[in-house]
Subunit: 240 residues, 2 copies
């Protein structure tokens, strides 16, 4: 049986003007290859509704999976969620579950959840949320399209979160442990825990709050007890 | 008058598998922006005839200029020239002028011009050759499509050779205003400024320094006074 196929849609004027050099395409290409999904086409389009919507429709119809990057932030040029909803004729508005995630994230950071930031809770009806361990605002999955952030650190975390569900293996358990230490401080003990748990996928995603570094450590694996034991091992070294 | 538009087609399995990291897209994006040609879409496709031919037809019809990279070497998977010819229904064979260039190049290097290398002289009837100062084998221009090599050094030489013959628009004026506030905080006023200046392209790009969020806001437009006025409007709300 042939491998499943995939396409990527990179959204953003800054890539096409040369201001920003895309890093997500290469990351996704490597990640998909590793798990046997065949990345067959990539398109890069501008922040123009018709361009985004028609690319989504074309790619979604032609390939098994579609991955987008970019355009899900709080500013006026972040139009991806609405364009993807339009591509599928889905209703979109601020969704309570996404809003709750933002409320909880901003409560811990002391930043105001204003109207602009609330736009990041605009999620099409029926879409499944994608966790964002870096900055709260979730991505989402609708039909066969995975909508993810353009900031490479967040894109990579979202890719790590969605790919395991595409391999057809046992659904992976995921836990995030938040440590108020920089990655350089936790790297030693975390490396040991990773070595002790070779069947787990353990990722670390740095953040900064009030000028202090922290790390969200994401543990993934098929065995819940093993995942929980690894989280507990880290919590013993760095209690919250 | 709006600037001319362009699209790029990157051809190659090695980009999509992650084996090679594309460098040509960013180079072309910067080069076109500099001369006022608006790169509006990029596609990356596999070494599959139908994929290449249909992408050429779609992009050639939709944009003023198309630039391709990759697939014009001597091996069996170098099928770009034949696919581009097919896209325009043009006859293609080893052309005497291209063959003479290869003969002359290989005579100076002492390398044999064998059957495989001779494939690089396959050029559609009526196409104009693009000089290759690096390794001899020419690219070509047919209709509005510029067919160039994938090796970055050669691609860049070919871009340098063809761009002067293209009429660009007015290079866009670009100003970046750095605000030491997160995107979520500036999004409201910035959205209003974008609405007030529909002819400008205004993008916001987040950054973090010393644990604090900031945003680089990029204003682009043909009219310098209008660009400056929009920057001033944002500076009034968020003085530096």
């Amino acid at each position: 049986m042939p491998n499943p196929t995939a396409a990527m849609l990179v959204i953003g004027d800054e890539i096409l003007s040369g201001r920003t050099r895309d890093a997500n395409m290469h990351h996704l290409a490597c990640a998909l290859t590793e798990i046997g999904i065949d990345l067959s086409e990539v398109r890069v389009v501008k922040d123009i509704p018709a361009a985004i919507t028609s690319a989504i429709q074309a790619l979604s119809g032609a390939y098994d999976h579609v991955f987008t990057s970019g355009g899900i932030g709080p500013t006026h040029d972040d139009i991806t969620a609405d364009c993807v909803a339009a591509a599928f004729g889905a209703h979109i508005d601020i969704r309570p579950d996404a809003r709750a995630i933002l409320e909880s994230y901003y409560a811990t950071t002391g930043i105001e959840l204003n109207a602009a930031r609330l736009r990041m809770a605009r999620i099409p009806d029926g879409a499944e949320l994608i966790e964002n361990p870096v900055s709260g605002a979730p991505g989402f999955i609708i039909e066969n399209v995975h909508v993810m952030a353009g900031v490479p650190k967040i894109f990579q975390a979202m890719v790590a979160s969605v790919l395991p569900s595409l391999t057809g293996g046992a659904p992976l358990i995921s836990r995030t442990y938040r440590v108020h230490r920089g990655e350089g401080e936790i790297a030693g003990p975390l490396g040991q825990i990773a070595e002790d748990n070779p069947t787990l996928s353990i990722g670390s995603y740095p953040f900064q709050v009030d000028g202090k570094f922290g790390s969200n450590v994401v543990f993934r694996g098929a065995d819940e007890a093993e995942v929980d034991a690894a989280v507990a091992a880290l919590a013993q070294v760095f209690p919250q």
